[in-house]
């Protein structure tokens, strides 16, 4: 029964005995190098016999796959907006347990996973809704949270944006339908909006015509549901073939009061909007170091000069051919239709900070403070940042403030105990300042206990990447050979941009 590279297994099914390893010269693990697929040591003969060990002796891990027992959507008061019980192994009183043990106690928000009775609760707050997943066994935590995140993204794509209590109330039938499709008996099924939209056609209430959704052809949809390219359906036609690329970076900074950068990194994502006909094959080139080196190595020409950057880590949308990324370092993919997140990356080295903050805060005696903050923009003079907000913390007992600013507007916000300085448009290579005098109510109870929270900044800088990442090319291939228009935008936002003072 043993054939060259595999064997017949029960019912006449031919099963390959070897793994389809990528045909590549560089394999990371092990000492051997493969010359071509399958030409290595044959393990055929020894392994066509099935391994049968002692009962239960080595099957030590989780005893069975773990499924969710129920999912609840609650509002902030703890009322059930919608719920779906997938399995019978938890009682209906579970949500009461959640209410009395988490929602109505100080526990709320202290830990997103909690065990009550025999069940574990995973909960997440999204706008004014709590989503709670209940499991009765040793579940996969990462999977559960990811599922909730993905489910919310799916609902959003149906409602057209917002996900909150009202959206749920207005679309509960649709949510029931979706909950049935995305999870069956507690096991996640298909969560891809692109595919689900083919057969869950009832639109959110934003469409006034929602009562006649059957105009569209449905029957063929199921064929697509589980096709080989699960994220794209065939037969798309656009008059104008366009691709939009958005490179969105958020800079995280933590600077000490002495001006030392304690922590600084960039998390970026490339968002894509595709309006392309047919089944196009796309290839994206970035100025990352490894990719460039690889390319020059393959094409045997020297690396072009210019800035290259080093990506610490990359993750890709499921459409990206990871094998090719690993062997050739190119990002190639068949994109889903519409909007999606192509990749995420992380960079810690060589980050260009768009702003420098130079604060001096002096406490003059018990009742007065002097605040001077200079913010310096260090990007190109032709560029500008939008929506810059600088939040400078002041003590709780602030009584009176007076400012002078060289640009923008400032005011004291007592709710968050901050001086909030807003500059709508902030050109590059400038350094506006704020100087403020703060009068405090003198209190006897509070000793010298004002601990200064960090200054926080918000901003958006269009056409600037803190990492220096650039798109070098985006190539589109399609059988019909149409022309495409590609658009690229860059934007850098503040993640957590904190300067201690």
């Amino acid at each position: 029964m043993c054939m060259e590279n595999g064997s017949f297994y029960s019912d006449g099914v031919f099963i390959q005995d070897q793994l389809d390893l990528p045909i590549s010269l560089e394999l990371r693990w092990g000492l051997r190098r493969k010359i071509c697929g399958g030409a290595t040591v044959s393990v055929c003969s020894s392994s066509s016999k099935l391994f049968v060990g002692e009962f239960g002796s080595w099957y030590t891990g989780s005893e069975m796959p773990v499924a969710a027992s129920a999912i609840y959507f609650l509002n902030l008061r703890g009322d059930v907006l919608i719920n779906r019980l997938y399995r019978d192994d938890v009682g209906g009183n579970m949500v009461d347990a959640f209410r009395t043990h988490i929602l109505q106690t100080k526990e709320l928000g202290t830990c997103p996973v909690r065990q009550i009775g025999g069940c574990s609760f995973f909960y997440m707050r999204i706008s004014n809704v709590y989503i709670v997943i209940v499991v009765s066994s040793n579940a996969n935590v990462a999977c559960a949270f990811k599922f909730v995140v993905e489910a919310v993204a799916l609902f959003k794509s149906y409602f057209g944006g917002a996900f909150d209590e009202d959206a749920i109330r207005n679309n509960f039938v649709l949510i029931y339908e979706l909950l049935d499709e995305i999870m069956d008996f507690g096991y996640p099924q298909n969560l891809s909006p692109e595919i689900l939209k083919l057969y869950i056609t009832q639109e959110g209430v934003r469409s006034p015509f929602s009562s006649k959704p059957l105009d569209r052809p449905v029957p063929n949809a199921t064929l697509q549901v589980t096709g080989a390219v699960g994220w794209r359906r065939e037969g798309l036609v656009y008059k104008k073939n366009e691709v939009f690329l958005d490179i969105v970076e958020s800079v995280n900074l933590l600077m000490s009061s002495k001006g030392v950068v304690l922590r600084c990194d960039v998390t970026g994502k490339i968002l894509m909007k595709c309006f392309l006909s047919g089944m196009p094959d796309l290839k994206l080139g970035l100025n990352d170091k490894i990719g460039l080196e690889k390319e020059s190595q393959l094409k045997s020409r020297p690396t072009k000069s210019g800035k290259t950057i080093e990506l610490d880590d990359v993750t890709f949308h499921q459409c990206v051919n990871l094998t090719r990324f690993n062997s050739e370092k190119t990002v190639s993919f068949v994109p889903p239709d519409g909007e999606f997140e192509l990749m995420k990356y992380r960079i810690t080295e060589g980050v260009n900070l768009p702003f420098k903050v130079l604060p001096t805060i002096k406490e003059l005696g018990r009742t007065r403070m002097e605040v001077n903050v200079k913010v310096k923009s260090v990007f190109g003079a032709k560029m500008f940042a939008l929506g810059v907000v600088v939040k400078i913390p002041v003590p709780k007992q602030t009584a009176k403030t007076s400012f002078t600013v060289t640009s923008g507007r400032a005011k004291y916000n007592a709710a968050i105990d901050c001086l909030v300085w807003k500059i709508r448009k902030f050109p590059g290579q400038t350094e506006p300042t704020l100087s403020a005098e703060v009068e405090l109510i003198s209190t006897m109870t509070e000793k010298k206990s004002w601990t200064r929270p960090p200054i926080q900044m918000e901003f958006q800088v269009p056409m600037f990447t803190a990492s220096g990442l650039r798109v070098r090319f985006l190539k589109v291939w399609e059988k019909s050979g149409y022309n495409t228009v590609e658009w690229v935008r860059y934007i850098t936002k503040a993640g957590s941009y904190e300067v201690r003072c």
């Binding site: 297994y9 029960s10 092990g30 989780s62 935590v141 922590r263 610490d312 990324f325 960090p454």
Partner: protein, 890 residues
């Protein structure tokens, strides 16, 4: 599985219905009231009724239809439409159905519309059908007879030409979960599995699993598992394959306890052909199915190294996947595969570092939390891996505290010689944090680092700076740390004492901190010149000191001080002993008495007992055994990692115990405060005190009312472990008075001062003698408890006097101690008490461990004995019983 099924059957659908209705009635009365009033009312209800009411009792908001009239209105409208074929009928049906579903969602019982809904279901509109299926699925279980009505149209829909409708109908059919309808499932499922549309097959596979849970025998008899296996290997659609895999794993795992055949099949899933078959298709699977396959493969044992490398090379790119769950599953697989190859295992750590760090910073805080828990586990096994990436664990100002807390733990764990300075500097920033719990955590983190490191010079300075920050909580935490630090590094005493001496004991309020300060006063009384006077003033305020822990420490400290500076301390010692002897707290009283006798007997012996030369503590005891840590590691990528305990501790019914006692026991550990060099039993009691405190704290906020249901109200797994006590509750338990004088025994002991251990050994049955001074630390106890099998399990009755005396667990402890049976942990409140005892055979090492649950309302006690020496456990049991029966007798 079978068991579970039975339990769910116990609550009959009818009961549920009745319950639901009565809730509903209460609501309609209250409808006009303000919504929060209604909510308050409903909470009361849930306490009053034995099992809490069904899930969704929401206060009807004004815009929502409410009340019975609305339902009957809907009913007549549905009737009218039922037979209508008029154009537009579907649209009006749709609106009506929406109303019905919306009422159902907010918890109004619309099950009375069942008949009408089914009548209206004859339609070609798929949305209408879906709503109808939803309705039917929700109410079929409580209306099994009516559910029969739906079978017909569902079966018809299963043959519809639209695969969508076939699939939906089949899913609904299987979701009815009514046991007597299973015969109708087999046919449609069988054809569903053979359907040429993958959507239908996908639904049918899960349908088989649903059938298995309703009636395992029907499922097995129809030979569905074999069909699933065939599908798993042949089906072109990966979601079908994935569903087959989940279904088969579940079915065979639960069957394997009874059938060898199933056990073999289960292991077959891990055979090389199947594993390879799945791995070769991994890229076609959805991200969720990939998690499933990776989890399966992590249990696979490859035959040789090259196989391991092949698998790893194949899955290498999964580490780049956007779904964190896939990344974690791959990490688990890599780690498990390479366990036997130390060098490759190290390389794996290097490889997984970057992807894991990405997962921490991307996604929601909840996801970061899940990943950080795993990083913490990894860093415990390989501290060096993240030591150069410590900056990733710096806290951001706006992060939720659960993320910050884990980050602090990470910072503590990754600290080594090269990065300590930066980490400690950063942690000190947090000590001034607005979020006080985090500030406390960060100070503790500094302390932990100090205890790990060799070069603590700079850290000690930092800690001392904390003491000068003049914030209560900072001072408190720092004091506790300085005390621990001194126990490990006595050489720092000069520096520390100088600063500690400046702290006024009046500014320290927290018991732990106060105890630490007092300990230092006692220990270093020769270096702190006003130590005796500080202690004296503390003794003067004895009555105002509420914490027994502090009073215990005060006694010991005064003793120590007395031996170092007798003339100055004499007065304080006298006062302290007098106050201690009069103390109402058992431990304090005992210790005072002990010191008093010791001093009477021989002062120099007393000194050698109380103030012996001490050795520096080199390593503080680890809280978890390595065995448990390995178990958690085996369960990587699951809840075990988040809870930091192996799954059997929180999923097994047995371990969970009646009132989550196992959890408390799990947390028992030798705490750092056990500074006193006195009898360990006292330590145990101190721990025990903590434990009691924590259980009783938990009880607050639940229900302060009647003593009877105090403990049973919160037990949500009521159907399983607590069924016994719940049943007992049924008859009135008014006989137990919560007011019985708790101090009875204490007073007895005070009067009969000549009580001594020697004479207290009972006139026990001769063959078995117990060691009156048996010692066992909680860690070992716990370990033994998990290791040993139950050698004996019995139920005794208690004497009425015994019951009357058992108002607090402590009363029994002292009694059993006089019979040479020591208590290691206890808890509970009337009428349920739980104890863990141990005893040791005289002149032998063999131990007896006992778990004893006493229910005072039924006057029964259940005991489980575990013993090193199994043969003698009956003898021990008799001894235990006789000791127990004497309880409460004069």
């Amino acid at each position: 599985m079978r068991e579970r099924e039975d339990q769910s059957n116990q609550i009959s659908p009818l009961q549920l219905l009745i319950r639901r209705k009565c809730i509903y009635l209460t609501f309609s009365e209250e409808t006009k009231g303000r919504s929060n009033r209604v909510r308050g009312h409903s909470t009361q209800l849930s306490v009053a009724m034995a099992p809490p009411p069904p899930q969704s009792h929401r206060s009807p908001s004004p815009s929502q239809p409410s009340g019975k009239s609305e339902v009957s209105d809907l009913k007549s409208q549905l009737r009218q439409l039922a037979g209508s074929r008029a154009p537009g009928a579907d649209d009006s049906k749709r609106d009506l159905f929406k109303k019905v579903i919306s009422n159902m969602t907010i918890g109004i019982d619309v099950s009375s519309l069942f008949g009408e809904m089914v009548m209206c279901s004859a339609t070609s509109d798929i949305v209408l059908k879906k709503m109808c299926y939803l309705y039917v699925g929700n109410y079929a279980k409580v209306n099994p007879d009516l559910a029969l009505l739906t079978i017909n149209f569902l079966q018809r829909d299963c043959k519809d030409e639209d695969p969508m409708i076939r699939g939906l109908a089949l899913r609904s059919l299987c979701s009815l979960r009514v046991a007597n309808l299973v015969e109708y499932l087999v046919g449609p499922l069988g054809s569903g599995l053979k359907d040429n549309n993958s959507y239908v097959r996908m639904v049918a596979v899960i349908g088989v699993l649903k059938l298995y849970h309703i009636s395992a025998s029907t499922c097995i008899d129809a030979d569905f598992p074999a069909t699933l296996k065939h599908l798993m290997l042949n089906d072109p659609d990966t979601q079908v394959v994935a569903n087959c895999l989940s279904a088969l794993q579940e079915i065979w795992t639960s069957e394997s306890s009874t059938s060898e055949e199933a056990a073999r099949e289960r292991e077959m899933l891990l055979s090389k052909p199947i594993v390879y078959h799945l791995l070769n298709r991994i890229k076609e699977f959805s991200e969720w199915a990939q998690c499933l396959v990776l989890e399966l493969v992590s249990n696979y044992i490859p035959s040789d190294n090259s196989e391991i490398f092949d698998i790893m090379n194949l899955l290498e790119d999964r580490l780049q996947h956007a779904n964190g769950a896939v990344v974690l599953a791959t990490v688990k697989l890599f780690l498990q595969l390479t366990l036997s190859m130390a060098d490759v295992h190290q390389q794996v750590y290097e490889r997984i570092k970057a992807p894991l760090l990405t997962q921490v910073s991307s996604g929601s805080p909840e996801q970061s939390y899940a990943v950080l828990s795993h990083l913490h586990l990894l860093v415990m096994r390989a501290p060096y891996i993240f030591s150069s990436d410590y900056k990733h664990f710096y806290c951001q100002y706006n992060e939720p505290s659960y993320v910050k807390k884990l980050k602090l733990e990470m910072l503590t764990a990754v600290a080594n010689e090269s990065n300590t300075y930066e980490i400690v500097t950063e942690l000190c920033e947090y000590a001034a944090n607005v979020d006080i719990p985090i500030a406390r955590e960060s100070i503790r983190a500094v302390g932990k680092i100090a205890l790990q490191q060799y070069d603590v010079n700079a850290i000690v300075d930092r800690l001392l700076q904390f003491l000068e920050m003049e914030k209560d909580y900072v001072t408190s935490e720092a004091l506790v740390l300085v005390k621990d630090l001194l126990r490990k590094y006595p050489q720092w005493s000069q520096d520390c004492i100088a600063v500690v001496g400046n702290i006024s004991s009046k500014n320290v309020q927290e018991p732990k901190a106060k105890a630490a300060l007092i300990w230092m006063l006692g220990e270093y009384s020769q270096d702190m010149h006003d130590a005796p006077y500080v202690l004296e003033s503390l003794v003067e305020n004895w009555d105002e000191e509420h914490s027994s822990e502090v009073r215990l420490h005060l006694l010991t400290a005064v003793m120590k001080c007395f031996f170092k500076r007798p003339p100055e301390t004499k007065k304080a010692l006298g006062a302290a002993l007098a106050a201690g002897l009069a103390d109402f707290h058992q431990d304090v009283h005992d210790r005072a008495l002990f010191y008093y006798r010791l001093l009477q007997y021989n002062v120099s012996v007393a000194e050698s007992v109380v103030n012996p030369p001490k050795q520096a503590v080199s390593v503080f005891a680890d809280t978890q055994s390595s065995e448990i840590k390995d178990r958690i590691f085996d369960e990587f990528n699951s809840l075990s990692v988040v809870y930091q305990k192996p799954s059997y501790m929180f999923t097994d019914k047995e371990h969970r115990g009646t009132f989550e006692f196992a959890d408390e026991l799990g947390n028992l550990s030798i705490t750092a405060e056990s500074a006193d060099s006195v009898v360990p039993a006292q330590q145990v009691e101190a721990n025990d005190k903590d434990l009691l405190l924590s259980t009783s704290e938990k009880d607050e906020g639940r229900e302060p009312g009647s003593n009877g249901s105090a403990y049973n109200a919160p037990s949500y797994n009521g159907s399983s472990a607590t069924s016994q006590p719940l049943a007992d509750l049924a008859f009135p338990s008014t006989g137990i008075s919560g007011q019985a004088p708790a101090s009875n025994l204490a007073i007895d002991d005070l009067l009969g001062l000549d009580f001594s251990v020697g004479t207290a050994t009972t006139p026990s049955p001769p063959p078995l003698n117990l060691n009156p001074k048996a010692v066992l630390d909680p860690g070992t106890f716990q370990q033994k408890w998990h290791q040993l099998p139950i050698s004996l399990s019995e139920e005794y009755s208690l004497s009425p006097q015994g019951i009357a005396s058992l108002t607090t667990p402590h009363a029994l402890l002292r009694h059993m101690q006089s019979h040479s049976i020591q208590c290691i942990a206890s808890g509970g409140q009337s009428p349920n008490f739980k104890f863990f005892f141990f005893a040791q055979k005289a002149e032998a090492a063999s131990m007896y461990l006992v778990e004893c649950i006493i229910n005072t309302s039924s006057a029964k006690s259940q005991i489980k004995v575990k013993a090193d020496d199994q043969s003698s456990s009956p003898a021990f049991s008799t001894l235990f019983q006789s000791a127990l029966s004497k309880f409460g007798l004069p």
